[in-house]
């Protein structure tokens, strides 16, 4: 089952003119947002993007851009009130513990 979050909010952009067809974006994306069509990547499921930034970071020709960040309300809240974010650091549930190696 694939969870769906809000529609039309993500900041993901792909410039197909810069794509070299290496396919790393299809490998690193945990949400299968990209597909390779021929020798060019394209965004197949934009709303599934969680803005982790893995694709943009690993795209050597710099064809992908996204405002990467952690989709964590606690972190956003701390940010809003200018409290130094302790997300994933101290006591917030931001964990995903055990889901990954």
């Amino acid at each position: 089952m694939k969870f769906r979050y809000l529609k039309n909010v993500v900041t993901l952009k792909l410039d197909q003119g810069k794509c070299n067809g290496c396919g790393i974006c299809t490998e690193v994306c945990p949400q299968q947002v990209f597909t390779l069509e021929g020798k060019v990547s394209s965004i197949a499921d934009r709303d599934a993007c969680l803005e982790c930034g893995a694709c943009a970071r690993n795209c050597a020709p710099g064809a992908i851009s996204v405002r990467a960040g952690v989709g964590c309300a606690y972190a956003v809240l701390m940010d809003m009130y200018n409290i130094k974010s302790r997300c994933c650091g101290d006591d917030c549930g931001c964990s995903l513990d055990g889901i990954q190696c």
Partner: protein, 379 residues
């Protein structure tokens, strides 16, 4: 382990002639000998390397349990360094891991019968996904540890297998450029490592996807609950003071035992609201209609408020009823919204959008609810 003193490759000031230009920082590998999961050591071209157990024992399980409940979670770490599973050689694969013990254990227990190296990098005791997001599981740390453990001298195979979820922090082409190691992103789950290696380092689409099953969601709830103990204590005190004030104003005799019993009884609907928001919503996540997490919380909160109000024998006037229908959904919506930090699929832009709408509503409802609740004790 009692092999006594030996010179470790990692902690001396050895000037590596490898191509890695990263700084060789010191790290505390020596202490690893004391760890219960170290079963011995193997001799290598770069000195002895600790061999790890691939079966978890009761100490590991107890440690995991405690970490899930937030006990010593931040100090639950593995000394960074190079480790061996089985009998690896110079052509064996290298898996890179975070130094959060829970992450390390979830990898370790999948390695029975495999011969490979594990490079534990210093993510400050934070799991792969969060560390990658913060950059501690990042390009520089990987390069630093490759250099510090003298991997280029040990291996003819210049490949590193990273957990896929480290990709937000690790730039594969940068690692290659600066130390010649090719980075392959492995599967999301440690459980798929063996299958991944068997087919020549290829991950099928299922291995590339995050799963967020019932168990995955439920194991995350204890930490959420532990964060609620303090607010709960304050709220209980608040209810006690309301009961006390109402007794005093009515000119009745103060009976502490009665006041305490009454306060806890008044607490019940809100206590269960905490469970609804922090446990029921995560558990039932895919079955609750709507997309925004706060909305899902609101739905279940209203359901619980309705059930509670409808309980036979419950005496509740207009003010009490209003307080239930305002405070309970505010609690559940807020807690559900907080669960965005634990999910595998929520984006920052989505969370910001959701909060802009939900937060003012939650604050307003909670405020009005508390006023109604307070008045209900005196009217």
């Amino acid at each position: 382990m009692s092999e006594g003193q030996f010179k470790l490759p990692m902690v001396d000031n050895h000037q590596s002639d490898s191509c890695c230009a990263g700084k060789e920082g010191a790290f505390d590998y020596r202490n690893a000998a004391e760890e219960s999961w170290v079963t011995g050591q193997i001799e290598t071209a770069v000195g002895p390397v600790y061999r790890i157990a691939t079966i978890l024992d009761y100490r590991d399980l107890l440690g995991s349990f405690k970490a899930r409940w937030g006990v010593g979670r931040m100090g639950y770490t593995v000394p960074p360094g190079l480790y061996a599973a089985g009998n690896p050689g110079q052509r064996s694969p290298v898996l890179v891991s975070a130094n959060y013990k829970l992450s390390f254990d979830s990898l370790r227990r999948e390695l029975s019968g495999l011969d490979l190296w594990i490079l534990v990098i210093d993510t400050k005791g934070i799991n792969v996904w969060c560390a990658a997001g913060k950059g501690t599981f990042g390009t520089e740390e990987v390069i630093r540890m490759v250099s510090a453990t003298r991997l280029p001298e040990l291996l003819s195979n210049k490949t590193l297998i990273m957990p896929q979820l480290s990709a937000p922090g690790v730039t594969s082409f940068e690692v290659r450029r600066s130390c010649g190691f090719k980075v392959i992103f492995g599967p999301v789950r440690a459980a798929d490592i063996s299958a991944f290696l068997k087919v020549g380092n290829r991950a099928d689409p299922v291995m590339r996807r995050t799963h967020f099953g019932l168990l995955d969601r439920v194991v995350l709830t204890p930490v959420e609950l532990t964060a609620l103990v303090k607010p709960l204590a304050y709220f209980t005190l608040f209810l006690f003071l309301l009961n006390l004030a109402s007794v005093i104003l009515a000119g009745d005799i103060i009976q502490p035992a009665f006041l305490i019993r009454q306060s806890f009884s008044d607490l019940v609907p809100f206590l269960i609201a905490l469970l609804v928001g922090a446990v029921f919503v995560p558990a039932l996540l895919p079955f609750i209609p709507g997309r925004a997490l706060s909305w899902k919380g609101l739905v279940l909160g209203l359901v619980w408020a309705g059930i509670y109000r409808g309980l036979p024998g419950l005496e509740a006037g207009l003010l009490e009823t209003a307080s239930y229908f305002l405070i309970i959904p505010a609690i559940t919506a807020f807690l559900s919204m907080n669960f965005t930090g634990s999910t595998t699929y929520t984006s920052l832009s989505g969370v910001v959008k959701e909060m802009k709408i939900a937060l003012p509503l939650i604050m307003t409802a909670a405020g009005l609810g508390l006023i109604a609740l307070t008045l209900s004790y005196f009217v």
